[in-house]
């Protein structure tokens, strides 16, 4: 009995050790992953810098900088954009189009998704039409939108709104249909009315789907805004890009692309924050 007690480590000590061991492993893997990421990034940008240049001007030049520019030149272009006051007004135009278009698409998508998803008859009637509209190549609609809404902000907002609408609509629709009937019945038996069920079951349950819709559609807001600017505009990031390209300013094109990437990162970060907020219970459950 007592020999056994000596041989068996006390559970408390054991757990504490296991926990600190687990923490140590986590920290190491965090450092490794981020270190590797940084290394890959530096290697890519570094070789770009080294291998791109004027042909014949120095050793190691493999690609003509006329086509791919160089990281330092891109940086200079970016600084130039800022100094000449070109960057921020154009970023703001694009961001405005994204926000307004996203808001319109989101609201309409949620509304339509809920209505169509929660009514069998409406769904049976409407869905073939929605699918038909959805299968129209989106870019083909830009000229129409320009015709209807003019060359300014409204046509861009409409285009972004349409892109976002379909994605949000389909996800909300699927989410509403996916609601667990047993949960609905549980609340009905407690005496819950229609609205209580929507608020307590349908919305939270569809939230997973809706947020997936947001995650997919948020980058499309940027795509939509920039695309329609490129087709017809005199402001915005898309316009900056086409203008630089028209002047054969490769660095300027890459600088505009870099700004778009930064914007995309911000947007994705916001969506991830929304997901963390609304789906906190999910990560808890998996722990």
């Amino acid at each position: 009995m007592s020999a056994q007690a000596v041989l068996t480590p006390t559970p408390a000590l054991d757990t504490a050790k296991a926990v600190s061991e687990q923490r140590r492993r986590k920290r190491i893997s965090f450092l490794m992953v981020n270190g590797a990421r940084l290394a890959v990034g530096v290697a890519l940008i570094g070789s770009w810098q080294v291998f791109a240049g004027k042909p014949g001007s120095r050793a190691l030049v493999l690609i003509d900088e006329y086509y791919v520019s160089r990281p330092t030149d891109i940086w200079d272009s970016l600084v130039n954009f800022v100094e000449t006051g070109v960057l921020w007004p154009n970023v703001w135009v694009t961001v405005q189009e994204m926000i307004l278009g996203f808001a319109v698409g989101l609201l309409l998508g949620l509304l339509a998704g809920f209505v169509v998803g929660s009514n069998r008859f409406v769904s049976d009637v409407a869905m073939p039409y929605v699918s038909a509209l959805y299968s129209v190549p989106r870019l083909a609609l830009v000229p129409l939108f320009l015709l209807w809404f003019g060359l300014g902000l409204t046509s861009k907002v409409a285009f972004v709104g349409m892109l976002v609408f379909f994605l949000v609509f389909y996800n909300t629709y699927a989410g509403v249909r996916d609601v667990d009937k047993d949960l609905v019945n549980t609340l009905r038996l407690m005496g819950a009315g229609r609205w209580t069920i929507v608020r307590r079951v349908t919305i939270p349950s569809a939230m997973t789907w809706i947020l997936a819709g947001l995650r997919v559609s948020a980058p499309y807001a940027l795509v939509g805004a920039v695309t329609s600017e490129m087709i017809s505009s005199n402001e915005g990031l898309g316009y900056m890009l086409t203008r630089a390209s028209g002047q054969f300013d490769t660095s300027g094109v890459f600088a505009a692309i870099a700004v778009m990437m930064a914007l995309a990162i911000v947007v994705n970060g916001l969506v991830a924050a929304a997901e963390r907020y609304f789906l906190a219970w999910k990560s808890r459950g998996e722990a």
């Binding site: 949960l183 019945n185 549980t186 005496g191 819950a192 808890r284």
Partner: protein, 279 residues
Amino acid sequence: MSIIGTAARTETTDSPSAQAAAISFRAISKVFVTPDADQFTAIHGIDLEVEAGSFVCIVGPSGCGKSTLLNMTAGLLQPSSGEVLYRGAPIKGANTDVGYMTQKDNLLPWRTVRKNVLLALEISKTVPVRQRKERVDAVLADVGLGRFADRYPAELSGGMRKRVSLARSLVYSPRTLLMDEPFGALDAQLRLVLQEQLLELWERERKTMLFVTHDIEEAILLADRVVVFGTNPGRIVHVEEITLERPRSLLELRQLPEFNQIWSRLWSLIGSHETKEEQ
């Protein structure tokens, strides 16, 4: 007191005995149509009266239609023929008078344990707002989950989720309780505690109980009447009145020769029907 047979069926709704009945099943059959258009008779010819304030247990092999019967009582399923009366009136739509603890726990995964139980009070409005939290915590403590009130359902074991579901159906004091194998997933120790608590509660409040279980011992311990179901199709094969003195305690009951006689009788009934099914 006869609960099966034609006598009960021929009585009109407003006769005294029908009024005392909380739930009446009259010549109930349920035929499910499978996707490939086959018909499957889940239960056939069920006549049963559950008197107000009585504790009725249903035992029987799985697939004999026990859950189907509870679903009908809750108004979630319509019989193919016959009618189910609740307090003398046909059930139309969800029966909000019953608390239904289903076989599945049906907790909202995005709400903590406490908020899941609280929801029943928010919806039923049976307890004043200020006393709700206190009441919820008291019920959670009763089922032994006080420490887990702030966890999410996915952070609990199956047995713990069952207990949350039990707490939720008890907290708002519905007049009638339907329970579908509520203690099936629990260990013997805990099951005993909860059985005795349920008995205590029932003796205090005399709710009408329709309780489904696999466990014959549990049925005898709890019930005024044990209804034995057979399969193919699901039907009543025997009704046993349990006249054992109350209050009861399982540990004491096990010593009684009467208890053992009943147990053997019910066991042989269920056993024989189960083997018949396998032929």
